[in-house]
């Protein structure tokens, strides 16, 4: 196994992905993922310096829509699926203060 794949810190990755893992799972996933990544090390041997990346299977551009309303669903439709609800109006979660302004980080 080479250096790069040994770097895998499953605990850190699991935290990023918001997955709780027990010790057994951590060591199992560590083994699996290291094996997969060391197989994928084959990619580092290909000269890709002049190759552009492909993000999509189709090569179309500018797929946009006009600014017209399409309607919304009812609040009850939304809240019926919600695990916890406040005053029949809001979706309830434990209190959290965003690390940042009211809005995107």
């Amino acid at each position: 196994m080479n250096e790069k794949s040994q770097d895998v810190d499953i605990r850190h990755i699991a935290n990023l992905a918001r997955l709780n893992l027990n010790d057994g799972e951590i060591s199992r996933y560590e083994t699996d993922i290291n094996a997969i990544l060391s197989y994928a090390e084959q990619l580092s041997k290909v000269d890709l310096s002049d190759v552009s990346p492909t993000a999509h299977a189709a090569s179309i551009t500018n797929v946009i829509r006009s600014d017209e309303e399409r309607g919304s669903m009812t609040r009850s439709e939304l809240l019926d699926n919600a695990p916890d609800v406040l005053d029949d109006e809001l979706i309830k979660v434990p209190v959290v203060i965003r690390h940042g302004s009211e809005g995107p980080a």
């Binding site: 996933y29 197989y39 990619l43 580092s44 669903m73 695990p83």
Partner: protein
């Protein structure tokens, strides 16, 4: 024997086009058709476990409504009243849409997938929700959170995956046809394992709106059917540009009548990539079936040409990086906040995330989320994700070059035929077995798996035809021809 009885007797091998003819001529009603399929389901699905749920009262209600329409001459199409089984990752308004995962337990979808709208516009009835690998991640359907589906040809073997439930219910006569989804072979491989036809359309031909995403740039919905003609019919029903899917292609309507019988196979150039024959783990029986299929084409005057797909060697690496990266992001929405199952032990937000996702996701899903999160994480993007995308470019170039020299590419579907439960436990081994199917998803082309032969244990083996982007007509013509010619060949042998 009544005409209806005649059709019912062959219902476990009947097709959409036969049932449609029988409905149009009044030989059978939609109610009879559905009742018989439900009866078949009640008899055998306890052994097959292909369905996760089958709302019989809703189905019979829909069938009655269809019969009433037809009686009044108001049928929505010639397929009004035809029941089609639906994979559990396709959204049907008012139904559960669980992706065979515990995390979506109790979730009722408030909207229809575009393919479901398209089917219902034509009077087609949604016939049950089929089992799958959780979130379509797997090749055996063993990763369903609910049950293991058996291969109807041998109930101790896997049906393939991830659309294993769809393939098994079609193969076992519980449904005339089914919809599946294919991200790296999830329609074609189970079709091959279960001896039915599986079509992965060109990326963008069928709207993905309402398909719960596994890997957005690779996913495509497609039919699993008993013959190629049905695959063409179902493709016609579900295809077309959709304004709700930004990746939907213009001019993607399909007309199955264009797959006619007047096809001149001798004008066809079939490409054989030698790289595909050098795959480790290609079983001799699959190899034999493949060689035999080549000879079927060759014997009818087809040009068989060598094509090169040199970058295929990197396809599995590239695919599993891209697919898991996209999946890790697509599945982050399942957090127990807005819908689905929430586990709240401590009234702490972080714990809700951790506990809900720990309990809600199964082993394989977690593995892929971890891998995908890793390859996107700070410091690793360039080494993995970006490289994988560049390999994707090379593979696309390979296919473009190949299609300059041939019309269709012929290959195995899977290196092996259906195997017993539990026989593949190493994830990397499992991923490597997708080598024949995943390049097609990376490139976005269309491909079909058609039954070709059987292995020594009597398990079916399919072959794969790969077409160029949007070349479904030629793909289905050739597949249709092969289906017929191969049958003749078998009869000749007998």
């Amino acid at each position: 024997m009544s005409a209806a009885q005649k059709f019912v007797n062959k219902i476990d091998s009947g097709t959409i086009h036969e049932a449609s003819d029988a409905l149009e001529t009044g030989q059978i009603s939609s109610l009879e058709l559905c009742q018989n399929l439900i009866g078949r389901h009640d008899d055998i699905d306890g052994k097959i476990n292909g369905f996760l749920s089958l709302d019989t009262s809703q189905i019979l209600e829909d069938a009655n409504a269809s019969d009433a329409r037809r009686k009044n001459g108001k049928q929505l199409s010639r397929y009004d009243g035809i029941p089609i089984a639906i994979k559990d990752n396709l959204s049907v308004k008012g139904q559960t849409c669980g992706c065979a995962s515990k995390i979506l337990e109790g979730f009722i979808s408030p909207y229809n997938a575009t393919v479901i709208n398209n089917l219902q516009k034509n009077g087609v009835i949604c016939f049950g929700r089929t089992n799958m690998d959780e979130f379509a991640m797997g090749s055996t359907t063993e990763f369903s959170a609910y049950k293991k589906t058996s291969n109807p040809w041998d109930i101790n073997r896997v049906p393939g995956g991830s659309s294993g439930g769809s393939a098994a219910v079609v193969s076992s006569g519980q449904a005339l046809a089914a919809l599946g989804s294919d991200t790296g072979g999830s329609i074609r491989q189970p079709a091959s394992f279960c001896g039915v036809v599986g079509l992965k359309p060109t990326y963008g031909r069928v709207s993905r709106y309402g398909l719960v995403a596994f890997a957005s740039s690779l996913d495509q919905i497609g039919p699993i059917t008993r013959d190629v003609k049905d695959a063409a019919i179902l493709l016609e029903l579900i295809s077309g540009r959709d304004e709700l899917d930004s990746t939907s292609l213009p001019n993607s309507d399909f007309n199955h009548h264009e797959v006619g019988n007047d096809f001149d196979v001798s004008s066809l150039r079939i490409g054989i990539p030698k790289e595909f024959l050098e795959i480790d783990g290609l079983s001799s029986e699959v190899n034999d079936a493949f060689e035999k299929s080549i000879s079927v084409f060759r014997s009818r005057g087809c040009d068989i040409v060598d094509v090169k797909l040199p970058s295929i060697a990197y396809a599995v690496s590239s695919y599993y990086i891209i697919a898991t990266a996209e999946a890790s992001s697509n599945l982050s929405r399942f957090d127990g906040i807005r819908y689905g199952n929430r586990i709240d032990r401590t009234s702490d937000l972080l714990d809700i995330y951790l506990d809900t996702r720990e309990n809600g996701f199964g082993e394989e899903v977690k593995r892929r989320i971890l891998l995908g999160t890793y390859v996107l994480s700070s410091g690793y993007y360039d080494a993995y994700y970006l490289r994988a995308q560049k390999i994707r470019t090379l593979i696309r170039d390979d296919f473009n070059n190949a299609f300059n020299n041939c019309d269709l590419i012929l290959s195995p579907v899977s290196p092996v035929s259906a195997y017993p439960f539990g026989s593949v436990s190493d994830p990397l081994q499992m991923y490597l077995s997708d080598i024949y199917t995943i390049p097609v998803n990376l490139v976005g082309n269309c491909a079909i798996s058609v039954p070709a032969s059987f292995d020594g244990d009597g398990m079916p083996i399919g072959i794969q035809l790969i077409g160029n982007s949007m070349d479904e007509i030629r793909l289905l013509q050739a597949a249709h021809w092969f289906e017929f010619a191969n049958e003749m060949e078998k009869n000749d042998e007998v």
